[in-house]
């Protein structure tokens, strides 16, 4: 299990209760879904996977700070979405296909 992804998940779960805007809540919930589904992936333990998981954790902290300060929120959530999509794409690329 990736500790960085676990930390990102915790950061966002705590913050989700404070999100009142329905659109933003939907976006953060979707990011949480991606993090939850991918946090146990083997590739996140590799030399290339670890920094990507750490980037998600950093972005989650940045989002939490933006929420607290009410500043640059859109930028922070966009960054988080981009990091989450990268994780999802890499998992998709590494999924087993049996024809």
């Amino acid at each position: 299990m990736s500790e960085a992804m676990e930390a990102a998940k915790e950061n966002l779960e705590k913050m989700l209760e404070d999100v009142s805007d329905p659109d933003l809540k939907k976006r953060v919930t979707e990011i949480l879904r991606i993090i939850s589904e991918n946090r146990k992936k083997i590739w996140l333990r590799t030399k290339t996977g670890k920094p990507m998981a750490e980037d998600v954790e950093k972005s989650s902290l940045n989002f939490v700070n933006s929420m607290k300060n009410s500043s640059d929120l859109e930028e922070a959530v966009k960054d988080l979405e981009a990091q989450a999509r990268k994780i999802e794409e890499e998992t998709r690329r590494r999924s087993m296909v049996v024809t």
């Binding site: 083997i42 030399k47 590494r94 999924s95 087993m96 049996v98």
Partner: protein
């Protein structure tokens, strides 16, 4: 080369380039084209196989078609009509837009034999065809479409593909632990496609790894992840599925089985070290 930007498509195009062919990759605009950008002798055509105009444009001046584009399980099982449209309709579009002198190499699948766990292996090319899901049904129809269209065709029934890469363990492995399984390395399968351009007109071949790749599902998973240096807790399917051991006596004519399973394991061990998993 339809499905040119996929993993097997990339291997085929790379090999074509190494062997001096110039090729044209056809795939959806939204897929990852980056790996192909490194190959000089390939031109890239972004389009949709279900759109006849898009297909026709991409086929101008083409001498041979390697047809890989298809919806695969689990996606193929969600919507039968869509699977038919891509896997059969797409094949029909290629046939309509190309002359009968254009060779077609079709990627079919061992899935067309259905679930054969009660039978005695190996499964040969003359085994009956059993349409047991959307995917196998579409592949049987695509084979029929190609066969009826021209003499210059080769049909490759490809076994599940292995690659020297870290493949994530799915929630449920799509075969039983005690089931016979046989995979083929992507590079070796690519060789079969390239060699089919010049060989095997009007023939059907099983494309699979050969004897060293024939084992039970649990052994395959254990050897794969042990080689990478990863401990896993696999959850196997409870039902037998359409994977078995295949006869490749006939397809040996395509001279593609270059890699034994032991060589595959050695390469996985090297990869595990490079990735920091060992």
């Amino acid at each position: 080369m339809t499905g040119g930007a996929g993993r097997l498509g990339y291997q085929v195009i790379k090999l074509l380039s190494e062997e001096g062919y110039s090729s044209r990759a056809f795939d959806l605009p939204g897929v990852n084209w980056e790996p192909l950008e490194q190959i000089r002798s390939v031109s890239m055509h972004k389009g949709d196989i279900t759109n006849p105009i898009s297909v026709e444009k991409s086929l101008k001046g083409v001498e041979s078609i390697v047809h890989l584009a298809a919806l695969l399980p689990p996606v193929s099982e969600r919507d039968g009509d869509h699977t038919y449209s891509v896997n059969v309709g797409g094949t029909q579009n290629l046939i309509s837009a190309s002359g009968v002198d254009v060779k077609i190499v079709l990627a079919s699948s061992i899935s067309v034999y259905g679930v054969t766990s009660e039978e005695s292996p190996p499964i040969r090319e003359d085994h009956e065809l059993v349409p047991h899901n959307n995917y196998s049904r579409s592949k049987i129809l695509a084979e029929q479409t190609v066969k009826e269209s021209r003499e210059r065709h080769t049909i490759l029934r490809v076994a599940p593909i292995s690659m020297v890469d870290l493949i994530e363990l799915p929630e449920t492995i799509p075969y039983r632990g005690d089931q016979r399984v046989e995979f083929v390395l992507d590079e070796d399968a690519a060789k079969a496609f390239v060699n089919s351009l010049e060989e095997g007109n009007s023939e059907i071949y099983n494309i699979s790894g050969g004897e060293t790749w024939q084992m039970r599902g649990e052994e395959y998973i254990n050897r794969f992840y042990d080689s990478l240096g990863v401990e896993v807790e696999p959850n196997f399917s409870e039902k037998y599925t359409a994977v078995d051991w295949y006869s490749t006596e006939k397809s040996k004519a395509l001279d593609y089985q270059r890699t034994s399973f032991m060589q595959f394991e050695e390469r996985l061990e090297e990869l595990g070290e490079e990735m920091g998993l060992r």
